[in-house]
Structures are given as C-alpha cells and as structure tokens.
C-alpha cells in the first residue's frame, strides 16, 4: 500500500475518509496477527509503523476539516461551543472588554466635555 499523504486526503469526502480509516485499521489488525504468528518478516513488521501513521493522518484530516466547518458555522454567532472560543488565559477571558472599560457616567462625560485637560504654553 502506498504511503497515505495528507494533501491527498484533504480533498476527500468524509465518508470516503471513514472507509479508508476502517480499511487501514483492518490492515493493522492483520499485521498484528502476523507479528504474533511469526509469518511476516522484516518488511511486514516495518509496515506496522507506516499503517499506524497513516491512520493518524486520516484522523487528523477528518478532525481538522470538521473543526474548520464548525468554526465557519458558528462564525459571528453569540454563543459558540467553548472549544471554538478564544483560549488565551483564564484571567484574560475574565477581563473587561475595551468597550466596558470605556463606559463612564453621564455626569462624568459631561464634566470631561465641559472641562477638558487644557494645555498651555508660555509665550516666549
């Protein structure tokens, strides 16, 4: 079996990927049996690693595409699943937004408008 490449996988449909995944896993199963019975030889034993990594690649691609699609689905919505939200740090997530920080009392607004910070210059 040829080496599975991620770039080739990304074009495929999800059910195709699923089928490939099951095929790979069955192959891995037979390889493992071969390992125990001592039938294979060095080549077959080496193939186990390739198959394992191929399975990993298929899983990566499926997961990445589903996540991407979900992100585009939830884009702009108010309530997103927690793993699609910004991670940053816990403290940063709890900080006030810039808008919230800029809120001032009406009285304060008026005062700032009426009496702003003046700059003076001394005439030379």
């Amino acid at each position: 079996m040829t080496r599975v490449k991620c770039s080739k996988l990304r074009g495929k449909k999800p059910d195709e990927l699923q089928k490939q995944l099951t095929e790979l896993r069955q192959e891995l199963n037979t390889l493992r049996v071969g390992k125990v019975t001592g039938s294979g030889g060095a080549q077959k034993l080496g193939k186990i690693r390739d198959v394992r990594k191929s399975i990993a690649r298929v899983l990566i691609v499926t997961h990445q595409t589903t996540k991407e699609n979900l992100r585009s689905l939830y884009h702009g919505k108010k309530y997103k699943p927690k793993d699609l939200r910004q991670r940053k740090t816990r403290a940063i997530r709890r900080l006030q937004t810039p808008k919230e920080k800029s809120i001032r009392l009406k009285k304060v607004q008026r005062r700032q408008w009426a009496f702003p910070q003046r700059t003076y210059a001394v005439k030379a």
Binding site: R25, L28, N29, V33, V36, T37, H63, L70, Y79, D83
Partner: protein
C-alpha cells in the same frame, strides 16, 4: 362606622363615574369587556357631559379629559365596585396540614435547552472494536484450546469487559460467542478465552484469521 363611610364613599364615586361613562346613545350594559369601543362612541357625549358638569361648577376653563385618564378612572371605579361586592378582606383558602412534617412539594423541573453545545465535536469512542481486540494468542496452550474446546484466545484491551469483547469478536470475525472468560496476565495484559457457539468451528475461524 368607618367601614360604612368608606363604602359610602366608594358607592358615591362609583355612581358618578359609571354614570358619566355609560352615558351615550341608549347603552344598557356597562361591562368592562368593550371599554375601547364604547369609549369611541361615548367620548363625544362624555366630553360633552364632562364639559357640561365642569362648566356648571367652574365657569372659566373647560377641562379636556384624555382617553387614558378615562380608562384609568373607569378601571379604578370597576375595581371599587368589585371590592364592594366581595368585601374588603380577601380570604384565602389555606391548606390544612394534618402531619407535623413539611416535605418539599414537587416543583416544575425544566429540561435543559442549551444555547450552544459545550463541545463542538462529540468525543469519539476510543474503545471501539478495533481497539478492544489487540491480537490472538498462538501459544501451545492456546492451540490446544482451539482444537479441543472450540475457543479462541485473544489479548484484549484491559479496559474491555466481557460483553464488549463478545461484541467486538462478533463484529470483527462474524462469530457468535457462547461465553467469554477473562483474566489479567502478570504482565498487565488482559487475556480473553472466547468459547464459540456450537455451530461455529474454532479451527476454521482460526484459519480464516491467520493463526494456525
């Protein structure tokens, strides 16, 4: 005494208002069900009457009574009437408790209606049938089991239990298991003895899998 006077006041106020607002082109019913409709027909007459009454008392200004004011006054008048009819004290039917203990009554329990799923992608099952059965054993004692007892011996994921193993074997090799016995080996792996049903032959299945 006081109560009587209060009632009297109510009555007087009631009569005045209801008289005022039921005045119109020959209307008998004074129900609150259609105040708006009545209002439209009687506003002219009412304003006229109001104006008339105010005019008789005060000669200078004519008071303009707005629609909202009229509705408010009417509703208060009706409430007063109701109070008079049923009495000022509102009696409540209180529950009789026959036992000394009070147990919390059943309250409404709503189902969850989440605004968003907490996880975007549900967790995939890591212990599926590929992961449960690792490989079959091909030791001498295992071979003996295949021939004599119609059983297959597998090394199995340690987190799998007997029903899981039975299902996995069924899915992977299309064989029904009569029973499954498990043990955990000293090296930490789980060994499963899967006795097949009488209509399956363990030897054939073993050939099919690849263990001979």
């Amino acid at each position: 005494m006081r109560v009587c006077f209060f009632h009297l006041l109510y009555q007087i106020r009631l009569d005045i208002y209801l008289h005022l607002f039921s005045m119109g082109p020959k209307k008998e019913t004074k129900d609150a069900a259609a105040p708006a409709k009545k209002k439209e027909t009687t506003t002219a007459a009412a304003t006229a009457s109001a104006k008339k009454t105010t005019k008789t008392t005060t000669t200078t200004t004519t008071k303009v009574v707005t629609k909202e004011r009229k509705e408010k006054v009417k509703s208060t008048a009706l409430k007063a009437k109701q109070r008079v009819v049923r009495g000022n004290r509102l009696t409540r039917n209180r529950k009789v408790h026959l036992k000394p203990t009070f147990r919390r009554p059943f309250t409404l329990r709503l189902q969850r209606q989440p605004k968003y799923p907490r996880r975007s992608v549900p967790k995939r099952n890591r212990l599926d049938h590929f992961a449960i059965i690792k490989y079959p054993l091909t030791t001498e004692s295992a071979m003996k089991k295949i021939e004599d007892n119609n059983t297959l011996v597998f090394i199995v994921n340690i987190r799998a239990n007997k029903p899981m193993i039975q299902q996995a074997v069924k899915k992977m090799y299309d064989v029904e298991a009569e029973k499954v016995n498990t043990l955990i080996r000293p090296d930490g792996e789980k060994k499963a003895y899967v006795r097949l049903k009488a209509d399956h032959d363990a030897l054939d299945v073993a050939n099919r899998i690849g263990i001979i």
